[in-house]
Symmetry: D2
Subunit: 360 residues, 4 copies
């Protein structure tokens, strides 16, 4: 093996640079493998200036930095590229071209760091014959092939800090504070940050909620003389009986959706309980900044493990965390079904036991 | 002097508890003065259960905590209390009642910790004969009688951290990130956090902005190969030629105003420059949480100085910071005119010199 | 089950209060069980004023706080209590008295939160017939019955932050900076913080080191123009061929040992390489402060799980983390052998692959 | 004015990079002046490879970073350079050579960022005719010509965080925790961090202390049922009647002095009061890491102001903070006498009023 490529796709996640650094240092130091950096996700494989030599000096000092020195693009599915021909939008399959480009670049392996969407594309490319190794990346922790992924701990940290900050204001001003957090389909961030921050109500997409149930909790607290409450709501949470609605593409909360679920909950609870309620949408603050040590440690191990897999020609595999140890799993298996908060698992049991209202 | 009262009014600000603690410890330890805590701002002086003995053990451990153990209310002007009589709203002057209550409680002095609004009420009460000592509190730093007040440094810290976090995502995703910050009339938070975080554009209420000017800056950066930009916008910033609009009462940004200036700027810049632009509204996160050491230090000195002033019967004075030292100033003078960012001061000169676009 | 007791033993660890809070809230809310708080570890079971009713209002607001509201004592093994009789120190077995006291207090279960030492005592008490449930607590992560325990993530976070801080000074001043971290027998903190902070050399007790090997690494870096280096050293690290020496009882680093291994390494490397080298001993800063969200989340789940186990009369069990999920294991099995960094595991493989010198 | 040089001297301080960045951006953007970077303090002016072109792209991204991209050296007084000639150490005056080098490099101004020592050298160079502009930098805040300097706020923040962390452990374990902080001659860090962290005893060089006085405070607290105490001690604090002793050159605490004042206080108090006492030496952690927003803001304004002064040929001046505004003062005046904590100022008055023991 002489050369491997690496690209990062999808939304931002703290730890991407730690993966890149570990890949480059491990490839160069242990195996004498050169690394090609690919810019802006799969886009870098279909445009002329999309690659560059990723030498060890280019990754110096990036370990504690958020973002990705490779750039990332939310678009760029090579199986469905939008082009405009004669003023008409056409969807073109450029996967053959990508495959050929991988060969022309002399890449003996391609490490793809990305979330569910990016990894599904990677699986298709692998099935076409590309030498893919996957590295899972998701703020939401919604990939089932691994216990956890990097970026999630940093997101939950920021969310917990936000709850800590809202707490004192809520208490001093006798208010209900709603914090809208990421999580369109999976409520892990809201659940863990909510429990860690001491929220009174936690709303997640897995459990459609009812306003009367929330209102009852607020009133119970008021009767105990607790004149404030904290509600942590995943952006994908929705009232039972209604349809979950959010915009296509990037998650709703990131788009600073006007009238998101947080604002709706604040308004409705204010109306039902006759209290002041305010909403804060945490948005992008969950995605950026220096990764926590947990995420740096995990991302670094993922990068190193990905190079080892590549060197063993174990293509079509994804690195993962199992029993606290970094291992690997087939991409197909890892993506077979998405990960969701288990309704009868110990996390939910714990939250209910603490007296937290889950909206049902 | 046997007894002093203390109340906190207006919006939340980190450092309120540090003031309260310093007042109680100094009063008890140095002068043997008892302290009466008044609940929820001036409201505590017009309702039956509004006061309690504030003994030293009640202030233990509160120094690093945000919020106020006294509670605060945004309403509660005793000169204009809204009451409903026969289904009709009436504005009643309860200031005589408040003054009598202060006497009945045996308060030889009343320390009022609050912002512009609360301090103006305090000045009126002082002019009626109440033994008032003022302590300035404003997140926005808009009180001219003092170089700075507590709460501001914590707010700027959070705002700067937010810019740091947005930076890496902006860079990785080639985006314009707009951060909407507090500051309805004064742009200090946006200016200082913007400079400290390395923002490319800073919009403040003191300088009405033009979209073409911002767009020019974004494009200049793109031409230099800098495919991302950070815009720090005070909530009260507005386009030249338009009217500054925000809702009454609490500041717009805190109400998570749908379609605030941040969202408007993001949308317009996206349209003008053909780039992806996103907005984050920091809101309440600027008001809560543990105060920085700067704010703890200043708030503690303010509390101690207020007791010294009270003991000297120097009523109608406000503690303040002058030349880095805690002194005092008459409330009337301190409130004579509001503080704004000086358009020709060294702060603005510095920002322009760094190449930051101020929108004009 | 009517009543359970809880005590915390051994050194401080962020997350203890989160366990206590979860125990009290879960016991009261789900099962209607009363909780008795026991002061200062097992000491509270042998002295008159050692217990108090732990009602839900006593655990309000303690979730984000370090330390333990129950107090902890490093001494207090009821099987070997030191007493002075006629000026002579005698070791007395008070375990019968403790067992009787547990019965007299009406405790149907006793939840013990502690490290290796405290849990071994608990196992003995269980074997005598006491209804013990164990909750593992160790900063060092050296308990083998669980993937990880609370407190560790906070300690590694502080250690990683310290490396980040030392980095810039090392670089600006062309120095070798040595950071001495906790870990007498297990090097997990040094290994994870070292990798997460980008250390160049990591010394752990599991791998006796050689000075020439470290010096070689420093010189290699100098030849590449890297005029600074960071060394993360566990307090229990020692040179190959020598005996590992540290003082009895509390860990050496905590005692701010004069001439600890950090200082020794700094001096020796300075001599061997002709560079300036400085040492920082992190000590107690690793044990205190607000727990990270990871530790709050884990500690809360442990507390809740411990109450469930107690309610099921599953005594002699310890809660633990397995595959990312909270489960339980017998105390005897959990303590059978201590946990150490695996010399051929993927963590060490990763560190070596990154080019980090492990001293061998 | 065509070209200015910049160097950073003395110990590390967060904010140096912010000054450098502001100098380069302001010089290039406003005045079209080129900047020459000088490596490792004055050393860069006496060695061949000591300078390089400091273009705007070289200062990108350095604002939030600690350290200095120019490097710094603690030695390097051009008026007294140590050289070894024929095995004998000789002190050589190289100031003429430095002055000539400044001319040869075509530097129309030289901005020197440094502490007391570096600025005194600069004053001498100015008096010889060199076009010097000074920027004060001191962690200890001991330069009297300015209200405050950058680096200090970051140091106090870290020190306050450390006290917060020690607090919970002290309380849980019923201990006296001693934190040794920087401050050889001036006690500002210990005083402000001590007050901000809620220390019970604060020891500073300006007030020689007595052990019985400290012991009395510890015992008073014990009698009130407060079984723990926090002591913040500046490294230069010393017992009344003894000589203040510390090693030459870099401050004692930084050298991780074995047996520093912190350890001595812990030992003596343990002996006098019969309590467990532990010491933590914060050392270098106060000097490194990302600057606080306060320090970024001040350092940026200093850098911009220094370029303005240079452009006006106002040599021999030092930028400073006066009344919260950046101004300037003559170097000679600024250095006339060192700054110390005022024994009768409001800071000390406040600390005493809070019941803090200052050791006297």
């Amino acid at each position: 093996m002489d050369r491997i490529g690496i690209l990062t796709g999808g939304g931002d996640a703290p730890g991407l640079n730690a993966v890149i650094r570990a890949v480059v240092k491990t490839a160069a130091g242990v195996y004498g493998i050169d690394v090609t950096g690919i810019r802006d996700g799969f886009e870098g494989l279909v445009r002329p200036d999309g690659v560059f030599q990723l030498t060890p000096d280019k990754v110096r000092g990036i370990l504690p930095r958020g973002g990705t020195i490779l750039g990332a693009a939310n678009r760029g599915n090579p199986f469905a590229i939008r082009t405009v021909v004669d003023s008409e939008v056409q969807i073109v399959d450029a996967s053959d071209q990508v495959q050929k480009h991988i060969e022309d670049l002399g890449l003996d392996a391609l490490i793809v760091v990305g979330g569910d969407g990016t990894l599904r594309i990677s699986l298709e490319l692998f099935e076409k014959g590309c030498p893919i190794i996957g590295v899972p990346k998701t703020i939401d922790n919604d990939i089932s092939g691994t216990e956890i992924t990097f970026g999630f701990d940093t997101a939950v940290s920021m969310a917990t800090e936000a709850i800590d900050r809202l707490h004192t204001t809520a208490e001093a001003h006798h208010r209900v504070m709603v914090l809208e957090l990421m999580g369109r389909d999976a409520g892990f961030i809201a659940l863990q940050a909510g429990v860690s921050g001491g929220a009174d109500v936690i709303l997640i997409p897995e459990i459609p909620f009812s306003y009367p149930s929330i209102a009852r909790k607020i009133r119970e607290r008021a009767e105990e003389g607790r004149t404030f409450s904290i509600i942590a709501a995943a952006e994908g949470a929705y009232p039972a009986g209604e349809q979950q609605v959010y915009q296509d593409g990037e998650s709703a909360s990131q788009q600073s959706r006007l009238g998101g679920i947080g604002a709706e909950v604040a308004e409705e609870i204010s109306r039902l309980c006759g209290v002041e309620a305010r909403v804060t949408v945490l948005g992008y603050l969950q995605r950026g900044g220096s990764p926590t040590c947990f995420d740096r440690w995990l991302a670094t191990r993922y990068g190193a493990a990905a190079v080892r897999l590549a060197n063993q020609h174990r293509f079509g595999r994804m690195v993962c965390l199992q029993g606290g140890v970094v291992g690997d799993i087939s991409l197909a298996e890892a993506l077979a079904e998405p990960k969701r908060v288990g309704l009868h698992g110990e996390s939910i049991l714990t939250a209910r036991g603490l007296g937290i209202c889950l909206g049902d």
